[in-house]
């Protein structure tokens, strides 16, 4: 399966298992979603469980919060992560706090799916990576898969989870892994080991990182599309780096990070999102606090620049192989 098919399969499996699961969003019903993620679900489960919504993100999430309070398990879609901001009040002030402020009387078991990330010439409003906004909010979990296998298992776990989950899907790798070499032909998921996806139910627990590549010389923390860019760049440099695909940002798999950095003594953080106050800053701070006496070099970050996401200058902005290689060289010098 490619990642879209895996995501579709996760919703299909959960809708079949649990009559409380409902899917909603702009164009998700009859049409099956602008990325085809919900194709066939309305036909199979009916309009009471899979339905198109008006174009109002605050309404989509607000209505989903009310459905969750009733006892349903909504899976709302925000068409692009760049358009999640109108729903921020409902996510931050309501979904994230409902359990806390009602001392558990009401809960928000939502899974908010949203395509995110760049690398597709999406310009300013089809490329953003706003995960750092949500990791800063207490009460929501933030999940970002990087493979079809993980996407299905993590999405099933997210839907089953009784806390609100922001599930960001790196749209650059919906149809195939992306190594950062934009000038070479696109690859498909066919033949990729992580594209072997079981048809039925399985779950990958939230809060657990995946070792994408085991190594001894350097720890690289990344997630989403960047896992593939980092894997490819590491292979080209020949450095024996350990690549951690974090998969869940909150709650973070701190044990996996600490174990790896204490082993390697070096740490590089890579994400597409802008640098200042990005999630990388939290990772850097955690590593510094926990692994200070094991560090043999300063912790480095390769991230998007602190600018809006540009259109024609996308490959100057994108943290691609050139920038990652330079950072690896710098960090290995000490």
């Amino acid at each position: 399966m490619n990642m879209i098919q895996a995501i579709n399969s996760a919703m299909d499996v959960m809708m079949d298992r649990d009559p409380d699961v409902v899917v909603m969003g702009e164009d998700v019903g009859y049409f099956g979603g602008v990325f085809r993620a919900t194709a066939g679900l309305q036909q199979k489960y009916g309009k009471n469980r899979v339905f198109d919504t008006p174009i109002t993100e605050c309404g989509i999430i607000g209505v989903a919060v009310g459905m969750g309070a009733y006892g349903l398990r909504p899976v709302p879609e925000i068409q692009f992560a760049d358009y999640i901001y109108p729903a921020l009040d409902q996510l931050v002030s309501e979904a994230a706090r409902l359990r806390y402020r009602s001392a558990g009387e009401f809960i928000s078991p939502l899974t908010v799916r949203s395509p995110f990330g760049g690398g597709i010439f999406g310009g300013q409003t089809h490329s953003q990576s706003p995960e750092g906004i949500f990791t800063h909010v207490s009460g929501v979990k933030t999940v970002i898969p990087s493979t079809p296998y993980d996407a299905k298992g993590l999405l099933i776990a997210a839907i089953e989870d009784n806390d609100p989950v922001i599930f960001f899907e790196p749209k650059r790798i919906y149809n195939g892994p992306f190594d950062g070499h934009y000038d070479t032909p696109a690859k498909s998921w066919a033949g990729h080991p992580e594209a072997q996806v079981p048809q039925g139910y399985y779950r990958i627990p939230l809060g657990k990182a995946r070792i994408a590549r085991a190594g001894e010389a350097l720890t690289i923390l990344c997630y989403g599309t960047m896992v593939h860019v980092v894997e490819n760049t590491v292979a080209a440099t020949g450095v024996d780096a350990e690549i951690l695909d974090l998969r869940t940002l909150v709650p973070l798999d701190i044990e996996a990070i600490e174990t790896s950095v204490k082993k390697t003594g070096r740490c590089l953080i890579v994400h597409e999102a802008t640098r200042t106050s990005g999630f990388g800053a939290e990772l850097l701070s955690q590593v510094q606090e926990r692994c200070f006496y094991h560090l043999e070099a300063p912790i480095e970050r390769v991230t998007g620049f602190d600018t809006p996401y540009p259109h024609s200058l996308e490959w100057a902005y994108f943290p691609g192989p050139v920038r990652i290689r330079e950072a690896i060289t710098k960090i290995m010098k000490d």
């Binding site: 409902v22 009471n48 469980r49 919504t53 008006p54 109002t56 605050c58 309404g59 999430i61 607000g62 209505v63 989903a64 919060v65 009310g66 459905m67 969750g68 309070a69 009733y70 006892g71 349903l72 909504p74 109108p86 009040d89 409902q90 002030s93 309501e94 706090r97 409902l98 359990r99 806390y100 402020r101 009602s102 001392a103 558990g104 009387e105 009401f106 809960i107 207490s138 009460g139 979990k141 989870d161 009784n162 806390d163 809060g207 909150v250 709650p251 973070l252 701190i254």
Partner: protein, 431 residues
Amino acid sequence: MTGPEDSDGAPASAGRNLPPLRLHVPEPPARPGESADFTHFDIPAAGSQPRPDEAAQPAEMREMAYGLIRVLDEDGRAVGAWNPKLPPETLLRMLRYMALTRAFDARMFRAQRQGKTSFYMKSTGEEAVSIGAALALARDDMCFPSYRQQGILIARDWPIVDMMNQIYSNKGDRLKGRQLPIMYSARDAGFFSISGNLTTQYPQAVGWAMASAARGDTRIAATWCGEGSTAEGDFHSACTFASVYRAPVIMNVVNNQWAISSFSGFAGAESTTFAARAIGYGIAGLRVDGNDVLAVYAAMRWAADRARANGGPTLIEHFTYRVEGHSTSDDPSAYRSAEESTLWPLGDPIARLKQHCIAQGIWDDERHAAMDRELAEMVRDAAREAEKNGILGHGLHHPMETLFEDVFEDMPWHLKEQQQQMLDEWKAAGL
């Protein structure tokens, strides 16, 4: 073309030969020191409004959004098509609940002034909106209130000691001292957790109603906001969703004329009514005398019956007046005429129902005075009971480490770590 033009045919801009544009900034009829005047309000006679069938199409009942449904006339008689013809025991229950709400407000306001808690908000003058609604709904219908519908909890016989425990944030507070006073949550009373963020409950109520409909349930939802917060985007998204999916929901706008210091003109009241907002969405809209509990009851009952029959949503504007300050942190004499509340043409909801009950021969002044005394004692006793669990800032609160609970269903490692760090710091400090 008759106007001045540029050489390319476009109208000439201001400054050449046109009057300057003017920005209209609304101004309330009376400021402090000025005499209030409500003569510009068009108050139709009680009983003059027609009562459309519950199945009527929104387009057939546009005038309901501009009129004012009124049942109780100046002599306390219940008149017209909207008279719900309630039995005496229901009338007296309504009267008691409204009086209890007012007694509760008086006691808790004083508790705040005595330093027993940080904050309180009264609903003086608006008791009918909550009590009339609560009695018209089924107990298992879910209410999504704003912060000024404490009357719903009282009308659903929620223990007032429990409400006070919340206000005192004490060890008896079911919300564990996490919420600002009056932000109740009472799932068992069909009372949704109150949020400080205005009108977020509107789309939530619509979603709850949609869920009930999708499940083939028979329960409906009702929600409330003030006229000021109809300006929030959530109001629009909720109306759109309610209309699109014909959700079984009642959306109440409590137009008490004031949003803190801003008069209703800043929410758009100079140009139209709030009930008329419904027309554009294709929703049934009713405008009601919010100080007439029988009218409130009748309108809510109409809307509830309509929703239960899959007739879709109703938007009800309750026309009333916020008699007191916005909250214990507010002094209304800084922005409005002190005369206003005494001149308010729709009177006091309790006095009006009392007059009706007396006119019906089921009540008298002596019984009313006795009831007020009894309720004041009851509230005083409840407050003493609640104070045994502690008042704000006097130590009898939930254990400090509970502040980390319920952020998530299970406490993740980083919260456990912060919890332990806090306990270690307090211990190290010898506390």
